[in-house]
Structures are given as structure tokens and as C-alpha cells.
């Protein structure tokens, strides 16, 4: 028995099949891809250790921790501010390897680190009509000049707590919500993008 491998499932896997949704003609206005290829961890500075955490992150990952709700990334590691002295850290590609353990070691005594890799559904959303679709739920101003590259916000979409991050200069956004809400998040997104046509791509797995 012990040799049976556990086959992981992505949060969206049982909720939606890749394919075209909503308006069927023309190019899809909204493109969605599930990103199940990231290791995630929450980092909370210990009492009074915010500065020390920043230093440790600088030396371990060569990143300057954002003080506010922003994402900063390099070499496959991204720190996103989610609260005062709190970050959600994502690692992808080669950086995934033992990432939570490495992070824990780098921040030992300075921050609490907790693995959250399985706790979230992560959807990367883009496409020519992405802002129109997102406006149907995201109650923050996503105007490209306001919600600039790297901007992040924790907020509510259709009563679902989400973290939205603009992950680059292009209009590409990452939506993160609790894993158990993947189906509801998808239902909102698919409905909101229906008039523009939505294409759900194959998930990216880790």
C-alpha cells in the first residue's frame, strides 16, 4: 500500500474543464489559466522583527520587501504584502525546491512561516476584455495607471475573499482565493466573462 503514489488534484480540476465558455464567436475576450505550479507560504514577522525580516529576505532572496500591498519578484520568488508585516510568498520553477523549508530557515526566529501551497486556488487572468470582466466583481480601481504592475489587493469578489495582483506590465492578473471556494470563484468569473467569451486553458501543474 505504502507504494501507492498520491495523485495531486488542483483546486479547479473538479470544477471546470478547459475550453471555451460564454460567447463562442471570435477570439476570447478573457483568458484564464489555473496556476497550480507555485509553492506558497505566509510569512508574518515576529513581534518587532519587521526590519529583521526585511534584512533576511534581502540577503536570502535579494529582494526588498514591499512595505505595502505590492508584489515584488525575482528569480522565481515573489513576495506580496498582505498586511502589516505580513506577506504571501510564492515560488515557482526551480525555486520551488524545498522552498518552505528554506524560507523557514532564512527567517528562523524572525518570522512565522506557514505553508499555504494547498490552501489557495490561483487563476491567472488576461485577455483584451480582462478589465471589463474583472470590474464585475473586483471593488478596487484596476485602472492600469492606478493599479500598476505589482499592485496587489486583498478584497472581496462576490463574497469570496480574494487576493488580486497585477503580475506584470501587461494586463495580466492573478486571482487567489481559498481552495474550497474555487468552484464559486470560477462561477463568478465565468459568468462575468461570458459576454466577452472566455477560454480556460490547461492548468499549469507543479
Amino acid at each position: 500500500m505504502a507504494e501507492a503514489r498520491l495523485v495531486p488534484r488542483t483546486p479547479l480540476e473538479d470544477m471546470a474543464r478547459p475550453g471555451r465558455y460564454g460567447l463562442a464567436d471570435g477570439p476570447a475576450g478573457v483568458l484564464v489559466q489555473e496556476r497550480a505550479d507555485r509553492v506558497l507560504a505566509s510569512v508574518i514577522a515576529r513581534h518587532g522583527q519587521g526590519g529583521a525580516v526585511a534584512e533576511a529576505v534581502r540577503s536570502a532572496f535579494s529582494l526588498d520587501l514591499p512595505p505595502g500591498p505590492r508584489r515584488i519578484a525575482a528569480r522565481g520568488v515573489a513576495f506580496t504584502g498582505v498586511g502589516p508585516d505580513q506577506w504571501l510568498v510564492a515560488a515557482e520553477g526551480d525555486a520551488r525546491r524545498d522552498f518552505v523549508a528554506r524560507l523557514g530557515a532564512a527567517l528562523a526566529g524572525r518570522a512565522a512561516v506557514a505553508d499555504q501551497s494547498d490552501g489557495r486556488v490561483v487563476l491567472e487572468v488576461s485577455g483584451p476584455r480582462v478589465l471589463d470582466a474583472l470590474a464585475k466583481g473586483i471593488p478596487v480601481d484596476l485602472h492600469p495607471a492606478v493599479f500598476t504592475a505589482g499592485a496587489a489587493a486583498n478584497t472581496l469578489v462576490a463574497y469570496i475573499g480574494v487576493q488580486i495582483t497585477r503580475i506584470g506590465d501587461a494586463l495580466v492578473y492573478e486571482l487567489m482565493a481559498s481552495r474550497s471556494l474555487a468552484g464559486s470563484l470560477w462561477s463568478w468569473l465565468a459568468t462575468s466573462a461570458a459576454e466577452h467569451g472566455l477560454e480556460l486553458r490547461q492548468p499549469r501543474r507543479g
Binding site: 500500500m1 494547498d118 474550497s180 464559486s184 459568468t191
Partner: protein, 991 residues
């Protein structure tokens, strides 16, 4: 039936597309109109005068206005499940195939039986119903009320579910401009040119406001050309968003505006994937209200007859829609603007029989001779009618009566600025005597008002004020606006001497829709309803679907006169959102049906669905309730099987829904000591402990376990129901009460799939899954042990020896991606031990058998002592709720305490919610001893068992009482027993 032609359509002019004819029906009769029409304008062009019946007297009514203020022309639009009652014909954009029906009449619009109410009119005065229908008392619900209810109401709503879809959206801008008349367009241009993000919202499907209805010029060219150029320029500005068909319906706090976009109402049905309407929440740093002004009717006998129309509306129909509301017109006015209607009508080829101006003098500039007879200082005192207007009776300045034949009476009572949106935060408009209008009072933060909405009635001033407001709003936000030349336009005359009502015989209507007359207002005053708000409520003036847009100012002016006060002293009634009525579906957006609220699914959901589990909504979660097997038709059979199998061998249940909180830091122990009643700082690493949390008022809030994974690392579970509440509470305790403690906490509820494995064979089962190096023997992994382990060859997991079922039991956690695989692995590994998945029902049965408290007992009314958990309240430390829990009432001897219950006759079923009475006592509250909190059929005992709260609690064990359940099962004798119904010494759990 052949379509009735558009006999009253001008051959040229207007903003309609004569190339696109549209067919529609009204009361089943086919008609035609053009693209660009409203239903109202198409009816006008087709010569339809009678469009509805009034609310109370069922008087025939025609179209009064050309906009959203319409009180009369309300129709049922569409049919079947899409039927929309009370739709204003004046706002309904015509589409091909439109079906409209008149309402509030029987059997037909032309012959309405309830028009007999007109005969009863002398009795049916304001508030008559407060004075009668009282005898005999029993007849109210049986006779009078049903009769009133059937007569009241307007259109018929569809009973069926609305087949269309709706959505919500959020928008942000620097400057929100409300209204696209000259003031709004100028404001949007000024702010947009300065670089501000502008939203221009317009209720109408066409932008331009009054400019669409007037024959005015701007910069020397027809206003329509200026509008087109302005829209083109705005459309080209990247930061400007034009939103036609969008009504801003409410002003809310801090720059929040509610708006309703009618996305597909101008189409027969919404195209696929398109919503019918979209509700917007607009957050604007600044707003310019340029909502214009609404014309007031004049109040004189017969003013409600079909064929009596607002003068400005006549211009709209002529100039915008090229539709002719009448051939022979009389204008009745008290201000300069009324004369414009006469001029425009003449220009359109109508005969203007007379202009009757109540003022003795009128500037020569206003009065030109193209308009037929001019009667200054005159009044209309009656309307001759058949099906429509035949003529008017007038009294001239010298008191001479005369009759003038006509088929259209245009009335111009002056203009009321649309101040509604300035008042939604509580501001009150102020009366301006010179302009005879209420002007905006204190404004909501960030709002400006421009144009006719601010009382600036002339075009030149509207353009200038709009531009100034737009520029100022942008400049306040740091944008630089280049000084632009204001467009040139007329300062058309706009003098007024208000005329509030004309005395005479016959009903003079103030509120057309609610049939409120001058005599109703006076009666109310006579009876002491002198406050304007009392007047409104007593007469219902202004309470109909138009909210008195055309009626209120006239009404309160008559009140002022009748009560000997000035209009300023009387004031207005409160303005409230929505500015115009909003479909409930639109505000709900897509939150209906299954999408009313999100659904959380545990990691085993897909697997459980494959097995045919029956699911149940528990708070935000959908959980497996039981897993029926083929042949099982009764839920009780399935649940009992699950319990038996678990207690006999092994059962598994997904408990991932529990709240899970990761706590790290030096002071976690100290922190938990303060939030739990028990001690946690002394908990050994590798152990778990049951914990009870109180609210600060001493009542139990939640229970759960906390495990110590490392000296400065704890893992807490909460109940499913209270997960969010507990997290918030802990954050409060940490951030607000004890911020100096070194505690870091984060919810990891979704990170872990967690399964409860219960039953005597679970150790054997686990042994097959857990990697060999972890010793699960009773000594090595005793009751309440908590460890990090690996399973299935190195997969990280956590194992807790915790039991809710009273069996040898474990909870195993694994990162959620493996939840599905783990449950399958457990099932495979457990086959030889008879592994059985069990759902929330069996979970509940086992906890009742074991006498554990859960949601039904932790109901926000019980203390730890009530629940028999008093020993968990440490006396060695302070904790949340400790002091309040010591209040005298919480220690009274006859407080309801926690016990078990069994039916005296083991064949009888128990019901939760039954109250306890002493045997033989009468069923009155004086003997109420408590109630049954939970029940279950215990397959282990072969009978129903219960838990409950009863006065003096455990002291009653052995007593028999009655479980009194008159709403369901009647009386059942029960015996009070210990709450632990099964395996009282807990041997199985420790085994």
C-alpha cells in the same frame, strides 16, 4: 389586425430614423413607430390618447410628460415571465415586436367598471379608510381588506422566476457627471479635456437632455449638431466613459453612487450571454449633478384628462420625435417658457388657438404674434372632454368665461430643479422665491450642481455653469484645465409668477398617480395633518411610482396656502433613493439561485459525489450528509449503517471544514491561556487538548482543540460554524488587547484536508498508510497525541489522536491537493477492516451517543457550567469571559443544565425542540423546565436518545418528565439520564 398608421407623425425633422420602422402592440392592437421612438412617442404619433387608468378613481389618463417623471402612462411591458408592471411608456425605448398592455382597468381600458369609484369619490377622500371598515371587527381580514387590496395596486407582476440575468459592476472615476444636457456635456468636456477620468451617465438612450427637445442654437448651429460634436469629442477622450441608458439612482456615503444601466431593455430579449440590466457602484472623487429640471403641471379642474400635457413635453414630442400630440392647441402657462411651446407648435404647423398666461403682463420678447390669441391674466377653469379634450373653459382677467375649442392643452407650471441626488445624504433644498423653485441646499461632499438642476434655466447659463463645474472639479483633483471659450447660446427668457392652483368646480389633481386633489390637501390640513410629512402620509401625495416628481411642489404650495405659511416654512418631504424605481433583480446581480452565496467544498467532494453522497448545506459548506447504498431508501437506514460500521470496524469522515489556525511565537501559550478557559501554556509538545472559549460576557463561544507542535508552535481547530468568528476574535485579542505578545497567527483552514478515522480497527488501517518509522501503538501514540508524520512513502501529514465519536479515533491532515487521493487510499487500505465513509448525520449520532456538545448546545445562551463543562474553567488565571461568567444569574440553582434523555417507551421517537414539563403538570409556561437540544436514533442502543437543558440539570437524573412538542409530535414521557449514552467510561476511546 392591420397596424394603425402614424397619422400624427411629421414628415421631417426629429431624431427618429424613418428608415427603420418598428412594429408594436398596445392592448393587442398593432401599431408602428420608428427607431428612436419611445413607446410614448410612438403612441402619440399613432394618435393614441388614452393610455391608462388612475389608481383610485380609475379616471382615464393620457401621456403627461416625455420623461421619467411620467405619472400616467404606465403599462405592463412584455408578457409571461418577462412581464414588467408599471413601466413608463415615456422611458421605454421602442423595439420591434414590443408588446404593451394598459393596467389597472377591467374589463378594458375604454370601459373600466371601477370608474364607478368616481361616483363614490365624495366618500373616498384622503384617509377615508381610517374612519371606517371597523365593524364588525372580523370582517376586516375576510371582506374589507381583500376588497381594498384587489382594487389597489397598479400592474400585475409576473409570478414566475425572472428568466433574465443581471450583474453588478464597479467603476471608479475622478468626476462623475450626472445628466447629459448642455450643462452635463459642458462639464464632461471641461473635466475630460483637463485629463480627469470622467463618467457621463445619462438616463435616456440619447444624450443631449433638453437640447434634443428644443429648437435652440449653440455657436450658431442647431443644438443637435453641437451635441453630436460634443459626444464625438468625449468619445475620443480615452479617460471618458459615456454611459447612456444609465440612471444614477442614489447618492451614498463617501462618493459612492448607485447607477442602473439598462443594457438590453431596448431589445425584445437580451442576446445570449448578455444581461438585461447591470447595476453599477460608482466611486467618484467628485460629481457634477446636471440632472436638469422637471416641469410642473398646473392645478385646475380637469387637469388630468387625456389631451392635457406638459408644455415642455409637447416640444419634446414635436421636436425630438416629430410626433404631434394634437392639432389645435391651447397653452396655459404662468411663465415665459410656456410660450416657447406655442412658437414651436406654430413652427411645426399646429394651430395654436390661444396662449393663456396667468400673469397680467409678459415681456414683448416672449410674446410674439405667431401664437394665436393671447389671454393675459387668464386661467383655465375647466376642460371639455369626450374621449379626449374638446376644448377648455377659461376665465379672463376680467372674470369673463369663455370656451375655446382645442384638442390639446399644454400646461406650463414652471420648472423644478432635479435636486434629488443632493438630498440622499439628508440635505434639504431651499426655497427660492424669485425662481419659484427649490434649489439644492447643503451638498454631499464632493458634489457640485450645474445647469437647470441648480436653478439656472437658460441655455447660455447651463453651458457656462456646466463648463465651470467640470473644470473646477478637475482642478480640485490637481488637473489643469485650459480656459476654453464657453459656447455661445441664448439667454432665453425664463421669468415666472407661480400659479399654484385654480379654484373651480370639479376635481383638480395635484398628484395624478395617487389621485390626490386640492380638496384632499385641504381636508388633511383641516384634520391637523399640517406637517408636510403628515400631509404626504395622510393623502399619499408623492408616494406613487413617480414619487411626486411633478406633484410635490404644487402640493406643498397648496398646503402652505391652506395652513397660512410660506412655502419655505413648509419645506419639502424627504427625498430618498432610488431616483427612479430600480428592478430588484438588477441590484441582486447574479446572486440568486445557487449563486446567492458562495459554496465551500471540502477536498473529498468529488469523491463523495461519485459515491452518490447526499449533501447538505452547513453554513458556507456543502458536506456529505450520508452515503446511501443501493437498496437503502431511508436515510435512517444509511446513517445507522454508517454508525454501526464505524463502531464495529472503521469509519471515515471529511472534517476539513473545521477552522484551522496556525499559531507561532514565544507567547502562544500565554495567549491561549487568555482566550481559552483552560491552561495551554502547560501543554506538552506532541499533545492536543480540548479547549473552550467564552465570549467576554461569559457565554460559551466555541470549542475545539489546540495541539502543541513545537514549543512555540500551536495548531488550533475551531468548529466549522465559528471558524471566521474565532479568527476575528483572536485577532482582536492579539491586536487590540495584547499587542505586545509575540504571537503570529494565520488561518490554514484550506491548506489541510482533514479526515476523521474512527473505530476499533483504525489503528490497523492507519498502520498501512503511515510510514513505518512512526509508531502508532497505544503507548507511543496515546490518546491526545499530536504529531507530524509521513504517509505513503514520505508525504507530509499530521496525525492527531482525537475522538468525537468516542471510538479509538484519529484525525489525519494532509496538504489539500492530496485530500482526494488520501480518501481513496484510506478506502482502499480500509477495505479489509470494513471501512465505511460516514457523513454529518452519523457524526451527529455518534456525538449525541457520547454526549458531546455541539452547535445546538453552543447556542450563544449557555455557559460552560450549563453544559457541564464548569471544570474546564481554570481558577488560576484570567481569561476572556471569566469575570462576567461569575454573575449571579449564571449560578442560580434552577438554571437549565445539560443532561441526556431517553424515551420511557423505547419505541418512541424523540424530537429536538420539545420542552420539558413535570409529569402531570399543565402545559403552561409556569412549568416549563427546559428543552431538548439534540436527538438521534442510536443504533447502538436501538432507540432514540436525546440531549437537553433542564432546570437543575444533572440533579434530575433518573426523573421522568414529559417532552412536550405540540407543534410536531405531542407529548412523550422521557427519562432524564447522564448525557453519555454509550460507552460511559470511555474505554473504547482509550483502547
Amino acid at each position: 389586425m392591420a397596424a394603425i398608421g402614424q397619422a400624427l407623425r411629421l414628415s421631417s425633422g426629429g431624431q427618429i430614423d424613418r428608415g427603420r420602422a418598428l412594429g408594436f402592440t398596445f392592448d393587442g392592437q398593432p401599431y408602428q413607430g420608428f427607431s428612436g421612438d419611445t413607446l410614448a412617442s410612438a403612441l402619440v404619433a399613432s394618435g393614441v390618447r388614452l393610455v391608462g387608468r388612475s389608481f383610485k378613481y380609475h379616471r382615464p389618463r393620457g401621456i403627461l410628460s416625455a420623461g421619467g417623471e411620467e405619472p400616467n402612462a404606465l403599462v405592463e411591458l412584455r408578457t409571461g415571465a418577462r412581464r414588467e408592471p408599471n413601466t413608463r411608456a415615456t422611458l421605454a425605448e421602442l423595439y420591434d415586436g414590443l408588446e404593451a398592455t394598459s393596467q389597472n382597468r377591467w374589463p378594458s381600458l375604454g370601459f373600466d367598471v371601477l370608474a364607478l369609484n368616481g361616483l363614490l369619490a365624495p366618500v373616498l377622500v384622503a384617509g377615508f379608510y381610517y374612519k371606517t371598515f371597523m365593524w364588525p371587527a372580523g370582517l376586516w381580514e375576510r371582506l374589507y381588506e381583500p376588497m381594498i387590496r384587489r382594487a389597489a395596486g397598479l400592474g400585475r407582476a409576473a409570478a414566475a422566476a425572472d428568466p433574465d440575468h443581471y450583474e453588478k459592476a464597479f467603476a471608479f472615476c475622478d468626476v462623475l457627471v450626472i445628466g447629459s444636457g448642455p450643462a452635463g456635456l459642458a462639464a464632461a468636456l471641461a473635466a475630460g479635456r483637463a485629463g480627469a477620468r470622467v463618467i457621463l451617465a445619462e438616463e435616456d438612450f440619447a444624450c443631449g437632455g433638453r437640447l434634443l427637445a428644443e429648437r435652440q442654437e449653440i455657436d450658431g448651429r442647431p443644438a443637435a449638431q453641437w451635441v453630436a460634436a460634443a459626444l464625438a469629442e468625449l468619445g475620443a477622450l480615452p479617460h471618458v466613459r459615456l454611459m447612456p441608458r444609465t440612471t444614477v439612482f442614489g447618492t451614498f456615503d463617501h462618493g459612492t453612487y448607485g447607477a442602473l444601466e439598462r443594457v438590453a431593455d431596448h431589445l425584445p430579449v437580451p442576446p445570449p450571454h448578455t444581461v438585461r440590466q447591470r447595476s453599477w457602484r460608482i466611486t467618484a472623487k467628485r460629481a457634477v449633478l446636471a440632472a436638469g429640471a422637471l416641469e410642473r403641471p398646473l392645478v385646475f379642474p380637469g387637469n388630468d384628462r387625456p389631451g392635457v400635457m406638459l408644455a415642455g413635453a409637447v416640444r419634446s414630442y414635436l421636436n425630438r420625435f416629430a410626433a404631434v400630440p394634437g392639432g389645435d392647441m391651447v397653452v396655459f402657462t404662468c411663465n415665459d417658457d410656456g410660450w416657447r411651446t406655442a412658437h414651436d407648435a406654430t413652427a411645426a404647423g399646429l394651430r395654436v388657438a390661444a396662449v393663456i398666461d396667468a400673469r397680467p403682463q409678459v415681456a414683448a420678447r416672449v410674446r410674439q404674434d405667431s401664437v394665436g390669441r393671447a389671454i393675459l391674466g387668464g386661467r383655465v377653469v375647466g376642460v371639455q372632454r369626450g374621449r379626449g379634450v374638446h376644448g377648455v373653459t377659461i376665465v379672463d382677467a376680467d372674470g369673463r368665461r369663455a370656451t375655446i375649442a382645442c384638442d390639446l392643452l399644454a400646461m406650463a407650471g414652471g420648472w423644478s430643479p432635479v435636486v434629488n441626488l443632493t438630498c440622499h445624504l439628508g440635505g434639504r433644498p431651499v426655497w427660492d422665491e424669485a425662481r419659484a423653485a427649490f434649489l439644492p441646499g447643503p451638498l454631499p461632499p464632493g458634489m457640485r450642481v450645474a445647469g437647470a438642476a441648480a436653478g439656472d434655466l437658460t441655455l447660455a447659463r447651463c453651458l457656462a455653469a456646466g463648463a465651470a463645474a467640470g473644470a473646477a472639479a478637475a482642478e480640485e483633483l490637481g488637473f489643469k484645465s485650459a480656459a476654453a471659450r464657453a459656447p455661445r447660446a441664448d439667454d432665453e427668457p425664463a421669468a415666472i409668477t407661480p400659479l399654484w392652483f385654480v379654484a373651480g368646480a370639479g376635481k383638480a389633481f395635484v398628484d395624478f398617480q395617487n389621485d390626490v386633489t386640492v380638496s384632499d390637501v385641504r381636508l388633511a390640513v383641516r384634520e391637523g395633518f399640517r406637517s408636510v410629512e403628515h400631509l404626504k402620509r395622510y393623502t399619499t401625495l408623492g408616494m406613487a411610482t413617480d414619487q411626486g416628481k411633478t406633484a410635490n411642489v404644487n402640493g406643498l404650495a397648496i398646503l402652505a396656502e391652506a395652513s397660512g405659511r410660506g412655502i419655505a416654512a413648509v419645506g419639502t418631504t424627504m427625498f430618498r433613493p432610488p431616483y427612479s424605481p430600480v428592478a430588484i433583480g438588477a441590484i441582486a446581480g447574479h446572486h440568486r439561485g445557487k449563486d446567492f452565496r458562495p459554496t465551500r467544498l471540502p477536498p473529498s467532494h468529488a469523491w463523495a459525489a461519485e459515491r452518490g453522497a447526499v449533501f447538505v448545506e452547513t453554513g458556507p459548506w456543502l458536506r456529505a450528509q450520508w452515503y446511501p447504498l443501493p437498496g437503502e431508501t431511508d436515510w435512517l437506514a444509511s446513517v445507522s449503517r454508517e454508525v454501526r460500521a464505524t463502531r464495529a470496524g472503521a469509519g471515515v469522515c471529511d472534517v476539513s471544514t473545521l477552522g484551522k489556525i496556525d499559531l507561532q511565537g514565544r507567547d502562544c501559550g500565554a495567549f491561549l491561556d487568555r482566550v481559552y478557559t483552560g491552561m495551554f501554556s502547560t501543554l506538552a509538545v506532541g499533545k492536543a487538548r480540548y479547549g473552550l472559549m467564552l465570549r467576554e460576557d461569559g457565554i460559551v463561544m466555541d470549542d475545539g482543540t489546540a495541539s502543541r507542535l513545537a514549543p512555540d508552535h500551536y495548531f488550533m481547530t475551531t468548529t466549522t460554524a465559528n471558524a471566521g468568528k474565532v479568527m476575528q476574535h483572536l485577532e482582536f485579542c492579539h491586536q487590540v488587547l495584547w499587542p505586545a505578545l509575540d504571537v503570529q497567527m494565520v488561518s490554514v483552514s484550506d491548506q489541510w484536508a482533514q479526515f476523521s478515522l474512527a473505530g476499533p480497527r483504525t489503528r490497523d488501517l492507519l498502520q498501512k498508510l503511515v510510514d513505518r518509522q512512526h509508531d502508532l501503538a497505544n503507548d507511543a501514540f496515546p490518546f491526545m497525541a499530536a504529531r507530524e508524520i509521513t504517509v505513503l512513502g514520505g508525504e507530509f501529514a499530521r496525525l492527531f489522536r482525537i475522538s468525537f465519536s468516542g471510538e479509538l479515533a484519529y484525525e489525519i491532515s494532509i496538504p489539500a491537493r492530496h485530500g482526494d487521493a488520501l480518501i481513496r487510499a484510506i478506502m482502499a487500505a480500509g477495505a479489509e477492516f470494513g471501512i465505511t465513509p460516514y457523513g454529518t448525520e452519523a457524526l451527529g449520532v455518534m456525538r449525541v451517543e457520547k454526549g458531546h456538545v455541539a452547535g445546538n448546545e453552543l447556542n450563544g445562551q449557555t455557559t460552560a457550567r450549563d453544559l457541564g463543562l464548569g471544570r474546564m474553567m481554570s481558577t488560576r488565571k484570567d481569561y476572556i469571559g471569566r469575570v462576567a461568567a461569575a454573575r449571579p444569574a449564571f449560578h442560580e440553582a434552577d438554571r437549565w443544565g445539560f443532561v441526556g434523555l431517553r424515551p420511557v417507551n423505547p419505541a418512541q421517537r424523540l424530537y429536538a425542540g420539545a420542552h420539558f414539563l413535570p409529569q402531570g403538570a399543565p402545559a403552561t409556561e409556569a412549568y416549563d423546565l427546559g428543552y431538548m437540544t439534540s436527538v438521534a436514533y442510536s443504533p447502538m442502543r436501538g432507540q432514540w436518545i436525546g440531549l437537553g437543558l433542564i432546570a437543575r440539570g444533572p440533579a434530575r437524573i433518573g426523573e421522568r418528565v414529559i417532552a412536550h412538542d405540540p407543534v410536531r409530535s405531542g407529548d412523550i414521557p422521557v427519562e432524564v439520564c447522564h448525557p453519555v449514552h454509550f460507552d460511559p467510561d470511555g474505554g473504547r476511546m482509550h483502547g
